[in-house]
C-alpha cells in the first residue's frame, strides 16, 4: 500500500473525529490543532488499527504528533505486513 492510499483512507477515518472541520495537512497536530483528548485518541487509534490491521502501541503513538507522522508510520507498518 503506498502513502497516497494510506493518506486517503486515513482522511476518511479522521472525518467523524474532526468535529471542528479543521483543514488537514501533514503538519496538522492531533493535540493542538485537532484538540484530541485521551479518549478521542484511543477511539481514533482503534479505528486506524482496525482499518489497516496493525498495532500502534502507546510507545509508537508518543512519536506521532502530526497527521503526516501518522501517515508515514502507518505506511511503514502496512509495508511490513
Amino acid at each position: 500500500m503506498d502513502r497516497t492510499e494510506v493518506d486517503s483512507r486515513t482522511r476518511s477515518i479522521i472525518e467523524p473525529f474532526n468535529k471542528k472541520g479543521v483543514a488537514i495537512t501533514d503538519a496538522t497536530t492531533f493535540a493542538g490543532d485537532l484538540e484530541f483528548d485521551s479518549l478521542t485518541v484511543m477511539d481514533f487509534v482503534a479505528a486506524i488499527e482496525d482499518e489497516f490491521d496493525i498495532i500502534i502501541s502507546m510507545n509508537q503513538q508518543a512519536e506521532i504528533e502530526t497527521y503526516g507522522n501518522l501517515v508515514d508510520a502507518v505506511t511503514a507498518m502496512a509495508a511490513d505486513k
Partner: protein, 413 residues
C-alpha cells in the same frame, strides 16, 4: 551584589512548576466556591471501621477500602502489638538483605494458603507490586495488552518497563482479541486485567477474557485489589467467582483494602517465580514492611479465609445501597451491584463537590473522584461498603443521600 531573593516573581517558561498551572487554577476555582477541600480531610479520631471524627464531626465512613472491617479486629490488633513488642518498629532493610523476618515468611505462607498457589511475594505496597511485576516480566520486544481503565499502578508499571504497550477499550473482549492477534509472531504477550475496576465498581468478564488471552498464547495478570476477601467462595476474587483462577499466571493484591493494613503482593504458580525476588527492582530497592504490619496482615488473611458470613452481609449492604440510591433517582455507575463499590455519577465537578460537602455535613464520608482518575471524565461520589456497616447504618446513609441530593439539586425534591 547578589540579591537574596530572585528578581521578580518565579514563573514563566523556566519555572518547572508552570506545567501544573491548570490544575492549580482548577483547585483554586473549586475552593473559591466555598466548599470544604475534598482532598484535605483529616480524621481526628477513628472510632471503628465505619465511624470516625472527620473535620470535627462524627461521621459514617462510606469511602474507605476497609471492605471486611478488619482494621479493629481484636486478633489482628493483638498480633500487631505482639510483633511490635517482639520485633521492633521496623526492619530498616530490603527483603533481600536484612529485611526478611519470620513474619514476612509467615504472611507469604498465609497468602499461599489463601490462594492455594505455589508462590507468594510481598511488596511494601500494592502500587509497588504492580509496578515491580509488570515492569520486570514484560521486557523489550514483549507486548502488554491492557484495559484502558487500568489503575495508575498498572500504567506506571508499563511506563517503567520497556515493553510495547497496547491498550484496549474497557472490558471489550473483541477489542482485546483483535490486538492480541495482531502482535508479531514470536513476541511475548502479557494481558493485564482487573477483577473489579474501582472507579465504577464494575467487574471484568474474566471467564471470556482469560480464555481469549490463553487461546492467543498470552500470560495473564489479574489485579484483584478490590475483590480480595469479598468476591468468590473463598474470597479469592473475581477470577475465583469466574472459575478461571487456575488460568491466571499472576494475581496482584493489596493488604490496604480487605486485609486492613498496608502492603502488596503477587501470587503465582509459575515454576520460576522465585527469581522475581532478585530481579524485581521495586522489591529489592526499598525497605520491607514493618514486623507489626506483616503480623496484622497474616492474621487478617487467615481470618478472611473463614469470612463467609461477613461476605454475605457485605453483599446485602451493597445490594440495599444500590437499590436505595436507584429508587431515590441517583444515576449509578453500574445497573446492578457488582462489587462493594457503588459509584454515584455527578453532573459536574462543581455539583459533585457541593454534594460531597453536603454529605459530609450530614455526617457521611464518601470518595470524591474526578478526572483524570475517572473514566470518560466523569465526576463520581464513590461509596464503598464495609461488612461492618449495619443494615440500620445503610438506611441512615440513604436518608443522608436523599436530603443532600435534594438540597444540592442532584435529585428532584
Amino acid at each position: 551584589m547578589q540579591p537574596d531573593q530572585p528578581d521578580g516573581a518565579v514563573g514563566g517558561d523556566r519555572d518547572l512548576f508552570s506545567k501544573f498551572d491548570d490544575i492549580i487554577a482548577m483547585r483554586e476555582g473549586l475552593l473559591a466556591s466555598g466548599v470544604e477541600d475534598p482532598f484535605s480531610l483529616v480524621m481526628e479520631k477513628v472510632l471503628s471501621p465505619t465511624r470516625a471524627i472527620c473535620n470535627g464531626r462524627d461521621t459514617i465512613l462510606l469511602g474507605t477500602y476497609n471492605y471486611m472491617g478488619m482494621t479493629f479486629d481484636p486478633d489482628v490488633v493483638a498480633a500487631g502489638q505482639k510483633a511490635l513488642a517482639d520485633y521492633g518498629a521496623g526492619t530498616t532493610g530490603s527483603r533481600v538483605l536484612n529485611g526478611t523476618y519470620q513474619g514476612h515468611k509467615e504472611v507469604e505462607e498465609a497468602l499461599r494458603e489463601f490462594y492455594d498457589m505455589d508462590h507468594a511475594m510481598v511488596f511494601s505496597t500494592g502500587y509497588q507490586a504492580n509496578l515491580g511485576i509488570i515492569s520486570t516480566i514484560a521486557g523489550k520486544g514483549d507486548y502488554i495488552v491492557l484495559d484502558i481503565d487500568s489503575h495508575a499502578s498498572i500504567w506506571d508499571g508499563c511506563a517503567l518497563g520497556n515493553a510495547e504497550v497496547v491498550p484496549f477499550k474497557h472490558n471489550d473482549i473483541e477489542a482485546m482479541e483483535k490486538r492480541l492477534k495482531r502482535i508479531p509472531e514470536g513476541a511475548g504477550k502479557l494481558v493485564v486485567l482487573e477483577g473489579v475496576y474501582s472507579m465504577l465498581g464494575d467487574v471484568a468478564p474474566l471467564a471470556e477474557m482469560v480464555k481469549v488471552a490463553k487461546d492467543n498464547g498470552a500470560m495473564v495478570l489479574v489485579d484483584e485489589a478490590h475483590s480480595m476477601g469479598f468476591i468468590g467462595e473463598h474470597g479469592r476474587g473475581v477470577c475465583e467467582a469466574a472459575g478461571i483462577i487456575d488460568q491466571c499466571d499472576f494475581i496482584i493484591g493489596t493488604f490496604s483494602k480487605s486485609v486492613g493494613t498496608v502492603g502488596g503482593f503477587c501470587v503465582s504458580n509459575h515454576p520460576k517465580f522465585e527469581i522475581m525476588r532478585l530481579v524485581c527492582r521495586p522489591y529489592v530497592f526499598t525497605a520491607s514492611l514493618p514486623p507489626s504490619v506483616v503480623a496484622t496482615a497474616a492474621t487478617s488473611i487467615r481470618k478472611l479465609m473463614h469470612g463467609g458470613d461477613k461476605r454475605a452481609h457485605l453483599w446485602e449492604n451493597s445490594k440495599r445501597l444500590h437499590l436505595g440510591l436507584t429508587d431515590l433517582g441517583f444515576k449509578l455507575g453500574t445497573d446492578a451491584p457488582q462489587s462493594a463499590i457503588v459509584a454515584v455519577i455527578m453532573p459536574d465537578l462543581e455539583r459533585g463537590a457541593a454534594m460531597w460537602e453536603a454529605l459530609l455535613k450530614e455526617g457521611l464520608y464518601v470518595n470524591l473522584a474526578r478526572p483524570p482518575a475517572t473514566p470518560a471524565n466523569m465526576t463520581l461520589l464513590r461509596c464503598s461498603l464495609c461488612a461492618e456497616h449495619s443494615a440500620e447504618q445503610v438506611e441512615t446513609i440513604l436518608g443522608m443521600f436523599e436530603r443532600a441530593g435534594k438540597a444540592v439539586g442532584i435529585i428532584e425534591s
